[in-house]
C-alpha cells in the first residue's frame, strides 16, 4: 500500500437543493518521502482535496489512507488528533500569530506534538537563526513563510501539506521557499504535498497530480525533477 492513498473519493457540497460535486471519484497515490504537486486551475477542486487530505473536512464517499490508517473513517476528534500529530500545514498567507515571536510561533505548534523537533534547530535550518526573536510584522514575506515552514516541520509530521506556499511571494523569494520544501523531502525523507496552480512548480516534483472540474485528469511520475534553483516562472 502506498503512503497516501485516495480511493474513489468524492465530496459533495449541498446549498439548499443544489448539489455541487467539488471532487468526483478521485483516486491517486503518493509514496513515502516523495515531493508531490497537486495542480489545477482555481475552482478545479484542489482546495477540497487539500481539506480532505489535511483532515479539515470529511469525504462524502470513497476512502482515504495515510500510512496505513484510514482517515476517511475518523471522527471529528480523531481528525483533530490527526492534524495535530500527522500533518504539518503551510499556508499561502503564512498565518503566523502576530503576537508571538518567530521562535514562539514554532514552539506553539511543537508543544502540542508527541515527538517535536527542537524549535531553535529548525529555525536555524530555515536560515532564521538571527531573526527568531522578531515578531512576524518585523519580518519580510519570505522570512514569514520560512517561519511557517519551520512551524510545520517542527511538529515532525508524517506529511507536510502546503497550500500555494509561494503564491504571496515574489519570484526570487518563492524559489528559496520551494528549495526548502524540496530539501525537506530529499534530505529528511519527509513526504511533502504542494497544492498550486503554477505549472512551473510542478517541475520540481517527483509526482504531479492534475485535477480539473473535480476529477483527476492525470498523474505523472517525474523521474528527474528539477532542482528548485533551476525553475523559472
Amino acid at each position: 500500500m502506498a503512503f497516501v492513498e485516495f480511493k474513489d473519493v468524492s465530496k459533495i457540497y449541498k446549498t439548499g437543493s443544489v448539489e455541487c460535486r467539488a471532487v468526483n471519484g478521485a483516486s491517486f497515490e503518493i509514496e513515502k518521502g516523495e515531493l508531490a504537486v497537486i495542480m489545477g486551475q482555481s475552482g478545479a477542486g484542489k482546495t477540497t482535496l487539500l481539506n480532505l487530505l489535511g483532515g479539515m473536512d470529511k469525504a462524502s464517499g470513497g476512502r482515504i489512507f495515510l500510512d496505513g490508517a484510514e482517515i476517511s473513517g475518523y471522527s471529528r476528534r480523531d481528525l483533530t488528533r490527526y492534524r495535530r500529530l500527522d500533518i504539518g500545514f503551510v499556508f499561502q498567507f503564512y498565518n503566523l500569530i502576530q503576537n508571538l515571536t518567530a521562535l514562539e510561533n514554532v514552539e506553539l505548534a511543537a508543544q502540542i506534538c508527541k515527538t517535536p523537533l527542537d524549535a531553535k534547530t529548525v529555525l536555524q535550518e530555515v536560515g532564521l537563526a538571527d531573526r527568531m526573536h522578531n515578531f512576524p510584522a518585523q519580518l519580510s514575506g519570505g522570512e514569514q513563510q520560512r517561519v511557517a515552514i519551520a512551524r510545520a516541520v517542527a511538529k515532525n509530521p508524517k506529511l507536510l501539506l502546503c497550500d500555494e506556499p509561494t503564491g504571496a511571494l515574489d519570484y526570487k523569494t518563492g524559489k528559496t521557499v520551494l528549495a526548502l520544501l524540496q530539501a525537506e523531502s530529499k534530505q529528511n525523507g519527509r513526504t511533502v504535498v504542494i497544492i498550486t496552480h503554477n505549472q512551473e512548480i510542478s517541475k520540481v516534483a517527483g509526482r504531479v497530480i492534475k485535477i480539473d472540474s473535480g476529477r483527476i485528469v492525470g498523474v505523472t511520475i517525474n523521474a528527474r525533477p528539477l532542482d528548485a534553483g533551476e525553475v523559472e516562472w
Binding site: 495535530r84 499556508f91 498565518n95 503576537n99 505548534a109
Partner: protein, 809 residues
C-alpha cells in the same frame, strides 16, 4: 443614480451587520434605561403622593396651643386670616387602648361627623380601605402600623383605658371596629412616637367628632390658600406655606404652628424620595461610561472592517462627510432606537419595582407613572453624544489616511513584549500558553480597559447591593444586641408602687431591672436647629450602663455616666453638630414653648432612633423637679416567645404594668420594614448581571471576529476544542480577575457615598460589607463571565478552518 447606489449600500450594510446593530442598540437601551428609569423614580413617587395629598385635602399646617384647648371662636379667628383656605378643628389624644385582649398605644383622633367629600373644611380625608365608615358614635375605623400588623380585625371592640385627655371629655370609650382607612397624615406604617406606654404609636383610632361633645379642640389643621394648586413638593408650595406659617405665628404668638416637616410620615417619605434621587445619580454613571466605551469599540471595529469600502468611496471621489454619514447614521439609528425603548421600559420598570418595595414601609396611594420629556431628552442626548462622538472619532481616524493606503488591508497590529517579560525568573517559569495570554491581554489596550471597566462596574454594583443589605441588617443587631443590653421595656402607671417592685423581684425570669423616665422630646442646638429624640433618665445613675452600653463607636472607649451626665446619641450629635460641652435646649411635645438647657457630657454609639440620657442631678437642675419614672427596663434569662408571653401576663396581672414591649419583637418588626430594601438590592444585582453579560459578550465577540483567522489556524494546527477555547478565554479570565479587583475599590468608594445618602432620618447605618458578600459578588461576577464564555464557545466552534486559507481582508 449615484445617490441610489449609495443608499442601497447603506441598506445592505445595515442588514449585513445586524448583530452589531443589536449590540449598539442593546448597550444604548441598557444605559438609557437605567439612567432614565432611576431618574424617574423620585419624581414619580413625589407626583403620585402629591396628587394623593391634594385629593385627600391634606393639611399644610397644624396648630397646637400650649395654653389650653382651642374653642370654636379660636378656629374661626384662624380661618378669617387672608392666607388661610380652610380649617378643621379636631381632637386627638394618646391613649392606652385594649383591643382583642391586648393593650396598645393608640392615638384617638376625630374626623367630622358630616364627612362630606366636597367639604373644603374636611382635611386629612380618610379613604376607606376595608369595611365601612362609622355611623354611630360608638363605632370607629382604624389604621394599624407595622408594629401590630393584622392584630385588630373588623368587629373587634376597642376600649379606651387610659387616655391622656381627661376621660370625662369622652362621650363613649368603647368602640366597635367597622373598617380600616388610610390617610396622608399616617402614610408611613411607622405611626410615630408616643408619650406613653412603649413610646411608639401602635394604631390610630378614628372616631366621629361627636364622641367629644364639648366644643374644645386639641389641634387645628389648616390648608393654606394657593398651596393646593402647586406640586406639594415644589419650592412654590414651600414658599406659600412658609409665608402663611409666618403670618399665623405673628397673629397668634401663643400658638405652636407646625408645617408638614413636623410630621414623621411626610418627612420619612420625602427622605425616601430624595434618597432615590441620589442613588439615581450614582449608578447610571457606571452604565453610561461602559455603554459609551462599548459603542466606541463596536463602531471602531465596524469602520476597520469597512476599510476597503471606505477606500473605494474615497477613490471614487466621495467626500469625507458623506462617507462618515453612513456610519454616523448607523450609530444614530441603533442608539436612538435603543435609548427610546430603554427609556420606555426604564420609566415603568424601575418606578414600579421601587414603589412596590417602599410599599412595605408606606401605605401608598395608587401609583401614577408619569412621562418625563426632560429626562427623555437629556438621556437620549447624552447617549447620542457618547456614541456619536465615538463614531466620529473612529471615522476621522480612518478617513485621515490616504485613499491609496485605505485600499490596502490595515497592517496587522505589531506584536510587542509586555512588561512582565522583564521579570525574567517569573517569565521563564510561566507556562507557554500563559505567556501568549499575557501578551494578548496587554496588546489591545482598548479591549483591556473596556473589559476591566465593565467587569469592575459589575463587581462594584454587586458589592454595593450586598453591602447595603449587610449594613442595614447590622443596624438592628448593633442596636439590640450591642447597645441595648436589656430584653424588654414595661410601662408603669404613674408612680412606682411597692407592689410592682415586689412582682419584679419575685419574677424568676427577670434577672435585673431599672426604672427610667422615657419621654419623646425635641432637641435644639445653639443655632436653634431642631431634632426629635427621646429623653431617658434612670432612677439609679450607676445602673444605666448595665442596661445600655455607653461608648464611643470607633474607639469603643466607655463613656462615664454619673448624676451630672448628659449623654447624647451619635447621629443626634452629628445632625446638630454637638460635642462634649455643647449647650442644647430641649422641649416636650405637650409644651413646645418651654425650653430647658442641658450641657452635653458625652456622645455615644447608637443606631436606631435618638436618645438623650440625663443623670439625676442634671435632670433636677434642668427641669426643676425629680423625674417621674414611667418605664422599667428588664433583663431576662431566656426570652423565647413562650417565656415572653408568660412574663407579660404576670406583669399585667400585677395591675401596675399596662404594656410590655420586647426588643425581640421590635427587631422582627423592623426587619420586615427593611425587606423593602431587598428589592432595591435585587435591582442592583440584575443590572450588574446585564452589564457584565452585555459587556463581556460584546467584547469577547469582537475579539473572536477580529481573530477568526488566528483561531482557524489553531484549529488547523490541531488544537483541541478545549485548548482553542482556553486560548481565548484565558484572556477573558485574566481581564475578569483584574476587573474584579478594580471593582472592589470602585465598589468601596461608591458604597460609602451611597450609604450616606440613603441613610434614613432616624437610623445610623454603619458601613459594613461582610466577607460573605465579597464571596457572593466575586462568585456572581465569575458566573456571568463563565456564562458568556459558554455563549461564545459555540461561536468558536462555528469558525470554519477554511477561514485560515482565505487571503487577508
Amino acid at each position: 443614480m449615484r445617490g441610489r447606489a449609495y443608499i442601497k449600500d447603506i441598506r445592505r450594510t445595515f442588514i449585513k451587520s445586524f448583530s452589531r446593530f443589536i449590540s449598539v442598540f442593546f448597550m444604548a437601551m441598557l444605559g438609557a434605561g437605567v439612567y432614565a428609569g432611576l431618574g424617574a423614580v423620585s419624581p414619580n413617587m413625589k407626583n403620585s403622593v402629591s396628587a394623593y395629598y391634594g385629593q385627600q385635602n391634606f393639611m399644610d399646617l397644624r396648630i397646637l396651643s400650649p395654653a389650653g384647648p382651642f374653642t370654636r371662636a379660636d378656629a374661626d379667628a384662624v380661618a378669617a386670616l387672608d392666607c388661610v383656605e380652610s380649617v378643621m378643628a379636631s381632637v386627638s389624644t394618646e391613649a392606652i387602648c385594649a383591643a382583642a385582649d391586648k393593650d396598645y398605644v393608640a392615638r384617638v383622633q376625630t374626623f367630622p361627623d358630616e364627612a362630606d367629600a366636597g367639604d373644603k373644611n374636611y382635611l386629612n380625608r380618610l379613604e376607606l380601605v376595608e369595611g365601612r365608615m362609622p355611623q354611630g358614635s360608638n363605632e370607629c375605623v382604624v389604621i394599624t402600623g407595622s408594629l401590630i400588623p393584622n392584630k385588630i380585625h373588623p368587629g373587634d371592640s376597642v376600649l379606651v383605658k387610659e387616655p391622656r385627655l381627661n376621660k370625662a371629655l369622652f362621650a363613649e370609650t368603647a368602640f366597635t371596629v367597622v373598617g380600616f382607612v388610610k390617610t396622608p397624615q399616617y402614610m408611613s406604617y411607622m405611626l410615630g412616637a408616643a408619650g406613653i406606654g412603649s413610646g411608639q404609636v401602635d394604631c390610630v383610632v378614628f372616631v366621629r367628632a361627636s364622641v367629644f361633645p364639648a366644643p374644645l379642640y386639641t389641634e387645628l389643621f389648616v390648608r393654606v390658600k394657593g398651596a393646593g394648586s402647586a406640586n406639594q413638593f415644589s419650592k412654590a408650595y414651600k414658599n406659600t406655606v412658609a409665608a402663611a406659617l409666618e403670618e399665623i405665628r405673628t397673629a397668634f404668638p401663643a400658638y405652636v404652628v407646625l408645617d408638614r416637616d413636623a410630621l414623621e410620615s411626610h418627612v420619612e417619605f420625602t427622605d425616601a424620595a430624595n434618597n432615590m434621587k441620589s442613588v439615581a445619580t450614582v449608578f447610571p454613571l457606571i452604565f453610561f461610561l461602559v455603554a459609551a466605551l462599548v459603542s466606541l469599540t463596536t463602531m471602531t471595529r465596524m469602520i476597520d472592517e469597512e476599510r476597503l469600502s471606505i477606500g473605494a468611496y474615497r477613490s471614487l471621489g466621495y467626500g469625507s462627510v458623506k462617507i462618515a454619514l453612513k456610519y454616523i447614521l448607523y450609530a444614530f439609528l441603533a442608539t436612538i432606537a435603543g435609548a427610546l425603548i430603554g427609556i420606555g421600559i426604564g420609566f415603568e420598570l424601575f418606578t414600579r419595582v421601587i414603589w412596590g418595595a417602599y410599599g412595605i414601609v408606606f401605605n401608598f396611594p395608587a401609583l401614577s407613572v408619569g412621562f418625563y420629556p426632560g429626562i427623555l431628552t437629556l438621556t437620549a442626548a447624552l447617549m447620542l453624544f457618547f456614541t456619536l462622538s465615538a463614531t466620529v472619532y473612529a471615522c476621522a481616524r480612518t478617513l485621515r489616511e490616504r485613499p491609496a493606503l485605505l485600499l490596502q488591508p490595515k497592517s496587522p497590529q505589531v506584536g510587542r513584549r509586555v512588561f512582565l517579560e522583564r521579570i525574567k525568573p517569573f517569565w521563564r517559569r510561566l507556562p507557554f500558553s500563559y505567556k501568549i495570554t499575557a501578551r494578548n491581554t496587554f496588546l489591545n489596550k482598548k479591549r483591556f480597559f473596556m473589559t476591566v471597566i465593565g467587569v469592575a462596574g459589575c463587581m462594584a454594583l454587586l458589592l454595593i447591593g450586598f453591602g447595603l443589605k449587610d449594613s442595614i441588617n447590622a443596624v438592628l443587631m448593633n442596636q439590640f444586641e450591642q447597645v441595648f443590653r436589656y430584653d424588654a421595656t414595661a410601662a408603669v402607671g404613674g408612680t412606682v408602687t411597692g407592689g410592682l417592685q415586689a412582682t419584679l423581684d419575685d419574677a424568676s425570669r427577670i434577672t435585673d431591672y431599672a426604672f427610667v423616665l422615657k419621654k419623646a422630646l425635641n432637641v435644639e442646638n445653639e443655632k436653634g436647629e431642631p431634632y426629635d429624640a427621646f429623653l431617658v433618665a434612670p432612677k439609679t445613675d450607676g445602673a444605666l450602663r448595665d442596661f445600655i452600653v455607653l461608648q464611643e463607636r470607633k474607639s469603643k472607649k466607655p463613656i462615664a455616666f454619673g448624676s451630672n451626665s448628659v449623654v447624647v446619641t451619635e447621629k443626634l450629635a452629628r445632625e446638630l453638630s454637638l460635642r462634649v460641652g455643647s449647650e442644647i435646649r430641649v422641649n416636650f411635645l405637650e409644651d413646645a414653648a418651654a425650653a430647658y438647657p442641658l450641657t452635653v457630657t458625652g456622645v455615644t454609639e447608637n443606631y436606631v432612633l435618638e436618645y438623650v440620657y440625663v443623670g439625676s442631678s442634671a435632670y433636677v437642675a434642668a427641669f426643676g423637679a425629680a423625674p417621674e419614672y414611667n418605664q422599667v427596663l428588664l433583663k431576662m434569662n431566656g426570652a423565647s416567645e413562650e417565656q415572653r408571653r408568660a412574663l407579660s401576663e404576670k406583669l399585667f396581672a400585677s395591675g401596675a404594668v399596662p404594656s410590655v414591649a420586647f426588643n425581640a419583637d421590635t427587631v422582627k418588626r423592623f426587619s420586615n420594614s427593611f425587606k423593602s430594601l431587598d428589592s432595591i438590592v435585587y435591582v442592583l444585582i440584575v443590572s450588574a448581571a446585564l452589564l457584565a453579560v452585555v459587556v463581556l459578550y460584546n467584547l469577547t465577540n469582537i475579539n473572536i471576529v477580529e481573530r477568526k483567522r488566528e483561531i482557524a489556524t489553531l484549529k488547523v494546527l490541531g488544537f483541541y476544542a478545549r485548548e482553542t477555547n482556553m486560548y481565548v478565554f484565558r484572556e477573558t479570565l485574566i481581564l475578569t480577575l483584574l476587573g474584579i479587583i478594580a471593582g472592589i475599590f470602585l465598589g468601596l468608594g461608591l458604597f460609602g457615598f451611597v450609604v450616606t445618602t440613603i441613610e434614613l432620618k432616624v437610623v445610623l447605618i454603619a458601613h459594613i460589607i461582610k466577607p460573605l458578600s465579597y464571596v457572593f459578588s466575586f462568585g456572581l461576577t465569575a458566573v456571568f463571565s463563565v456564562l458568556v464564555a459558554l455563549l461564545i464557545s459555540g461561536k468558536i466552534k462555528g469558525i470554519d478552518m477554511v477561514e485560515s486559507l482565505k487571503s487577508v481582508e
